[in-house]
């Protein structure tokens, strides 16, 4: 039978624009360098996920200038690589969703928001923002427990 599920929500919001700003459940001052943020815990290894994000996004984009074709590939590669490495952590009974956005820095404003219907005791997300002189990337990893 189906189970009643406590509809608690967690949200995160990342904003990139002329100056990178962030609003999130654990507020911290914005900085143009590499930042990572995580949601409430569970058995999901947040620190290891952050390291994976830092490594994967950094190595994909650090030396890149924005070009549409390569950056479309980079978004795909980042999503695949992060998913594979998080899966390789071998945390039992967790489903994984990775969403990667890679965009051109052009003075435009952009807002990324997400919300989840899940169990905050076991489910969690990590978020990572990267920026260089010509592009930015926002990458979110969601870890969702299943019975």
């Amino acid at each position: 039978g189906s189970r009643e599920h406590g509809g608690k929500e967690a949200g995160n919001r990342n904003e990139a624009g002329n100056g990178m700003r962030r609003a999130c459940p654990a507020p911290s001052t914005a900085s143009p360098q590499l930042r990572a943020m995580e949601g409430p815990g569970g058995r999901f290894p947040a620190a290891a996920v952050q390291e994976i994000l830092r490594e994967a996004v950094g190595s994909a984009l650090r030396e890149r200038r924005y070009r549409p074709g390569p950056c479309r590939e980079a978004a795909r590669d980042i999503a695949e690589v992060v998913k594979a490495r998080v899966k390789a952590l071998g945390v039992p009974r967790y489903k994984i969703v990775v969403v990667a956005h890679v965009g051109q820095l052009g003075g435009q404003s952009l807002q990324v928001a997400s919300r989840c219907l899940w169990d905050p005791q076991s489910d969690t997300f990590s978020s990572y923002v990267f920026q260089n002189t010509s592009l930015f990337a926002v990458t979110n990893v969601y870890g969702v427990y299943f019975e």
Partner: protein, 107 residues
């Protein structure tokens, strides 16, 4: 009884309605974007919940001002292929892009 499944067409309609309801007919305004993304995501999530299926959901929304800059989005999931699913809707008007993705993960 058969396990519920993630129906892309059903979710796609929900997302489109949420986007139209929040930003249809509006021009990009920086001061409104926060409230718009929240509205799109919350409306989508609440309609998904009303389907009454035994799923957890993740909904993400990106709203970007149109000024010629490019944006690419990709996702990758580790899940159960037989029950889980995702749906992405890309919407635009003269002044902005809105990309919404919903992921449904069976309990």
């Amino acid at each position: 009884c058969p396990p519920a499944s993630f129906l892309v067409d059903e979710v796609s309609s929900i997302i489109k309605e949420a986007i139209e309801g929040a930003i249809g007919g509006n021009a990009y305004q920086h001061s409104k974007v926060n409230q718009w993304t929240t509205s799109v995501v919350e409306q989508t999530l609440s309609q998904l919940t009303r389907l009454g299926k035994p799923f957890k959901y993740i909904v993400t929304c990106v709203i970007m001002q149109k000024n010629g800059a490019g944006l690419h989005t990709a996702s990758s999931c580790f899940w159960d292929n037989s029950s889980d699913g995702t749906c992405t809707v890309r919407w635009e008007n003269k002044t902005m892009y809105c990309i919404v993705s919903a992921f449904g993960l069976a309990l």
